[in-house]
């Protein structure tokens, strides 16, 4: 799949995110939109998976640690064919498997439950450790956020991964510099994050997390590392693709109203009014 095709899928995933968040009426907007390119690159290009066999034992594992960005996970899984896209509007609704924070349900590709920050990271370490003990070839991708690195548990997991030389563990950190109370460096300074990871004996790359070429190259580099776990610090634009959400921490934990939904969908279909939409 080429970059143009990946971009189209990412745009489609962002449109799903806006629609499902509007329908849900609560949830997180900025993080899911910022991470759409990474999720699409993983599920449409980089992962060894078979959506028709979500429990296939040799599949690459994706463990989402910052569970609150699950709309992008659900939208990507639906886009990739794990379940019908019509389900997406049931996000956060009674009886739906699309819980406000993810709940493990392998048949839909949802590999783990998470929400309280730091927990998914440790789970990913366990999954990768089991793969190593069982001599499996699968890679474990842990998707984490910068704010999550305020939690002590995250650093406990980082230490153990290096100690156990989990070279098939690849963590992608969404470095968007925002969290609920504001900019990360005001809430709790995390830079230099790359140097911190290096000091913990990880292989580290820093990339533009909204650039498909960089994402693909970084993951391929990470897969080639054989003696330590790998971290990709992905600088993403929170709210990416929606003119009035980009880089605004106020959109971390809120959802669009009807007018904002219409404007957001228009932004996505016209690439922020740079092109004309067929819907106009």
């Amino acid at each position: 799949m080429n970059i143009e095709q990946l971009s189209l899928h990412a745009n489609s995933v962002r449109e799903s995110i806006i629609k499902m968040l509007y329908s849900a009426g609560s949830g997180h907007s900025a993080g899911p939109l910022g991470m759409a390119d990474i999720f699409v690159a993983l599920y449409f290009k980089l992962l060894t998976i078979d959506p028709s066999q979500p429990k296939w034992s040799e599949r690459d594992r994706v463990i989402l640690s910052n569970g609150h960005i699950c709309p992008v996970w659900y939208a990507t899984l639906a886009e990739r064919g794990y379940f019908d896209k019509k389900e997406l509007v049931n996000l956060r609704k009674l009886g739906s498997f699309l819980q406000g924070h993810p709940h493990r349900d392998l048949k839909y590709g949802i590999e783990n439950s998470s929400g309280p920050l730091g927990q998914g990271f440790s789970q990913a370490v366990g999954v990768a450790l089991a793969g190593k003990m069982n001599n499996k070839d699968y890679f474990t991708y842990c998707l984490s956020s910068d704010g999550e690195h305020d939690e002590g548990q995250t650093w406990e997991a980082i230490m153990l991964s290096a100690k156990e030389k989990l070279s098939k563990l690849i963590t992608i950190v969404d470095r968007n510099y925002i969290q609920i109370d504001g900019y990360t460096e005001n809430v709790m300074p995390l830079d230099d994050m790359a140097e911190k990871y290096r000091a913990f004996n990880w292989h580290v790359q820093e990339i533009d997390g909204n650039n498909f070429s960089e994402i693909i190259e970084a993951v391929e580099n990470a897969k080639a590392v054989f003696d330590r776990p790998s971290c990709i610090i992905a600088r993403t634009i929170p709210g990416k693709g929606i003119s009035f959400m980009e880089n605004d921490f106020n959109w971390h934990g809120k959802t669009p109203n009807k007018d904002e939904e219409i404007k957001a969908i228009n932004d996505l279909r016209t690439l922020n009014n740079r092109i004309k939409s067929e819907h106009q």
Binding site: S122, A124, G126, V127, M133, A157
Partner: protein
């Protein structure tokens, strides 16, 4: 006298010989939890996590997602003490096959003082869905519980003490998770039932036998080793016709076995229950036997409490 934790260590090794899926995790307490017995036998299946209980529980969940059966050992004050949220979300919400061992539980850890005396662990876990809670009473029962846990699917918390405790069960006694055992019945009419879990059952047994002698009152003693799910059938059967129901535990009176029994009886057969436990207090340094006396958990205290209750 023998160590419950020795029973855990030997039981785990034996279970692991039969089942290759079993792995061991420990937070820098391999010797004192007796996880070292497993570690020596299966070094490749043991993971030293370091002093990081939250990570241990999370990593165990990940291992269980891939079909392993992780046994995680630390002191009860650290796990569940420091890892309650991880037990709730990563283990219980996902309903994973993770076994958690809280060692050195209760006042009897002695000189280490209040910070290390877990008296709230059962209360903190009992409200979590999916989780089974077991508090064995001696070496044999701990060994059997460990072997049973390996076969029993789902998350389980096993609570064990530090000190050597009297052997009150026999090697051949049947142990079944969720099934309470009647460990003593007087030959005269049984008017009192004492329900307990853990090594305090020995104190209860001694107090019961003394009452039988001094007051000619028959006593039934129920070992409710599985605190959750409570063996409701046995409890309801055994309180039938009794003049006094007593619950003994080396734990706060809030949220443990006394609460579990009271919750059941309030719904099914409203009954006054006499609690023997720690009364909303932190412990302190001291010899285990001194602490048991001071905090009202000794056989003499139990005897006096029951004597007073039956006189009223």
């Amino acid at each position: 006298m023998a160590l419950c934790r020795q029973g855990f260590g030997e039981g785990l090794k034996e279970a692991a010989e039969k089942n290759k899926k079993i792995v061991g995790l420990c937070c820098d307490l391999t010797g004192s939890t007796k996880m070292d017995i497993f570690k020596s036998a299966f070094p490749d299946r043991f993971v030293e996590i370091g002093v990081a209980e939250q990570n241990m529980i999370g990593v165990a969940s990940g291992l269980a997602m891939e079909g392993k059966i992780p046994f995680c050992a630390s002191y009860a004050v650290f796990t569940p003490g420091r890892s309650w949220d991880q037990i709730r979300v990563s283990v219980a919400y996902q309903n994973l096959n993770v076994k958690i061992i809280g060692a050195h539980a209760g006042l009897s850890v002695g000189p280490d003082g209040a910070t290390h005396q877990a008296l709230e662990d059962i209360a903190s876990l009992r409200a979590i869905p999916n989780l089974t809670i077991i508090a064995p009473c001696d070496y044999y029962e701990t060994k059997k519980a460990t072997l049973e846990m390996a076969e029993y699917p789902g998350p389980i918390y096993l609570r064990i003490p530090r000190e050597e405790t009297p052997i009150i069960t026999a090697e051949n006694d049947i142990f079944e998770i969720g099934k309470a055992n009647i460990i003593y019945q007087s030959k005269i009419e049984n008017q009192i039932v004492i329900i307990g879990a853990g090594p305090i059952l020995y104190e209860a047994l001694e107090a019961g036998k003394a009452l039988e002698k001094s007051h000619k009152i028959g006593v039934t003693i129920v070992n409710s080793h599985t605190i959750k799910p409570l063996d409701e059938k046995t409890v309801l059967e055994q309180i039938e016709g009794k003049k006094l129901v007593v619950v003994c535990e080396e734990h706060q009176k809030t949220g443990g076995l006394f609460s579990a029994v009271s919750e059941l009886l309030s719904q099914r057969k409203p009954t006054k229950v006499l609690p023997i436990g720690v009364d909303n207090l932190f412990g302190e340094s001291g010899k285990p036997e001194e602490l048991m006396v001071k905090y009202g958990l000794s056989k003499t205290f139990i005897y006096k409490k029951i004597t007073k209750a039956i006189q009223n």
